[in-house]
Amino acid sequence: MTAIVLRRAGELLLVLLALSLLVFLLTSLAPGDPAEEILRRGGIQPTAASVASLRAELGLDRPLFDQYLRWLGAVLRGDLGRSYTDRSPVAAEILARAPATLRLAGAAAAVAAGLALLAALRLAFRPRALDSRLLALVTVAIGGIPPYIVGILLISGVAVGLRALPTGGDGSAGAVVLPALTLGLAGAATLLRLLRADLSRALRLPFVKFAAVKGLRRRRTIAVHALRVAAPNAITAASLVLAELLAGAVVVETLFAWPGVGQLAVAAIRQRDLPVVQAYVLITGVATVLLLALTELCLSAFDPRLRRR
């Protein structure tokens, strides 16, 4: 087990390094000189002398690899730089926005998990019933449509048509319902597809036949015993979906004016505020990578069969 943890940790470190390198290189891909950009946004006409002195101050005149190490060092100390637009520390700004995004993603995850579990059980109980076939079709459909389209249809149907719920993040308690439903439906479709495959694989195992011979009711066999066999894969699936929700939150936050990290990132992209974009990609990326790695590690601690490979 120790060897596996060490190997996984090594892999994880490489992936995180690759991610940090990509994020760092974003700035050098951007057209224009950051020093000039900062001066111009500060209302100062950039001259050759002022640009050169700011470049020296920011360390932009050093070799690229040197810059990367300094940037990485600062990031590890929790310093993500300052925003171009208002010179405020980026880390604080993102931290202030994080709770809203986590609340949205959490509510969406609850919607996704609940719907997917109920639907997967229904599909396993009566695979040939009309509603099961319809459910399978709807799953393919919802999985294929972009979340913001589902959101638009929900807004025009529920919020504008029925005047039932608020269309945006106005702070009221009902405000989370539509965004969470939009995001959660997309997650539910992915989760259901994965869960359904695992469950039908579990139902082909010999113990299912034994349970039937023993006289155990089919529903109990599925909901208790087969589900437990399918659980490890389902947990992996759930963490994949959670990662998907974190990334997908950008679009949904923009649509519903939800004051989260994603909205901040989109605004920063429109204003070409590079440090904020960089910090957003880095934080979302690290969160995703860690989430998936932790899930895998927990599962292999519980199930020895997963340790080979």
């Binding site: 892999e11 490489l14 992936v15 690759a18 991610l19 990509l22 994020v23 974003l26 700035t27 891909l29 951007a30 057209p31 079709l137 393919v140 459909a141 999985g143 294929g144 449509i145 972009p146 913001y148 389209i149 638009i152 249809l153 807004i155 025009s156 504008v160 269309t167 990662a243 974190l246 990334a247 997908g248 950008v250 679009v251 923009t254 649509l255 990132a265 989109v266 920063a268 992209i269 429109r270 070409r272 590079l274 974009v277 960089q278 957003y280 990609v281 979302t284 990326g285 995703t288 990578v289 998936l292 790695a293």
Partner: protein
């Protein structure tokens, strides 16, 4: 059944996008403020948008962009992934390890987030969208091509072709190619569905193509301020995108079922 429905829906959308602008004869980009926000009528079947442009024509022209960009990206990622996967599967060794490491990294990274950042950092345009979606887009295709190649690489007929001294190029093209074409097509269809969502999501967020070019995502995003006054401005492109996305999703699902049973027999 599902596959045919999917193909029919796609054909319908492609015909709609190609033919409608010729039939209506309206300019999709030229503003005409005198006839802004007209309701549906005989002159403009679905009415006009806030700048007086015909909604039907504009939806069709936007659809051309969405489809073209998505198809172009999938063509590039599929070609890259297939070549990389087949070569890695055939040669093995260091190349194979390299491919698997690249795939591990690419799968662990959040695709949409990186695409968003790249599209935001570079200047808006077709090339930017391509650069944003290709680096992580080849992975599924590459892994499937690799697996399918390795399945067949030690089969008797492949050994026979090798034994008579065929070049690796011949081997890949004539012997391994046909075997991996099915799985690759399945992944390509699934990739098309994902890419269509990603491309229109980028333009929905306002970081896709620069105006006056637009696609369905851009049209939906432009229509949001008018969602109460003129919901059709958002709903028409949303429905067009929905039909397309459903068509591709049904095709991908049908392909998946077919090739799933293929692989079990082989």
């Amino acid at each position: 059944m599902k596959g045919r429905a999917g193909i029919a829906m796609m054909a319908l959308v492609v015909l709609f996008c190609l033919l409608t602008p010729m039939l209506t004869g309206d300019d999709p980009h030229l503003p005409d403020l005198g006839s802004a926000l007209l309701p549906p009528g005989p002159e403009h079947w679905l009415g006009t948008d806030q700048l007086g442009r015909d909604l039907l024509t504009r939806t069709a022209v936007a659809g051309r962009t969405s489809l073209l960009v998505a198809f172009a990206i999938v063509a590039v990622t599929t070609a890259l992934g297939t070549i990389a996967g087949a070569v890695a599967g055939l040669v093995g060794g260091v190349l194979d390890r390299l491919l698997r490491f690249a795939a591990t990294v690419a799968l662990a990274l959040p695709g949409l987030t990186l695409a968003l950042a790249l599209a935001g950092v570079l200047r808006p345009g077709f090339l930017t969208v391509l650069i944003a979606l290709v680096p992580l887009g080849w992975v599924n295709c590459g892994l499937v091509a690799r697996t399918a190649t390795r399945q067949v690489v030690s089969a008797d007929h492949v050994l026979a072709v090798r034994a008579i001294g065929a070049s690796p190029y011949y081997l890949l093209r004539r012997t391994i190619g046909p075997h991996i074409a099915g799985p690759v097509l399945t992944v390509a269809t699934a990739d098309l569905a994902r890419t269509l969502v990603a491309v229109t999501s980028l333009s929905f967020l306002g970081i896709g193509l620069p105006p006056p070019d637009t696609d369905w995502g851009g049209m939906v995003s432009e229509a949001i301020p008018l969602l109460v006054a003129a919901p059709r401005l958002a709903i028409v492109p949303a429905l067009a995108l929905t039909v397309t996305a459903l068509g591709v999703a049904f095709m991908a699902d049908a392909r998946h079922e077919v090739s799933g049973s293929d692989l079990h027999h082989g």
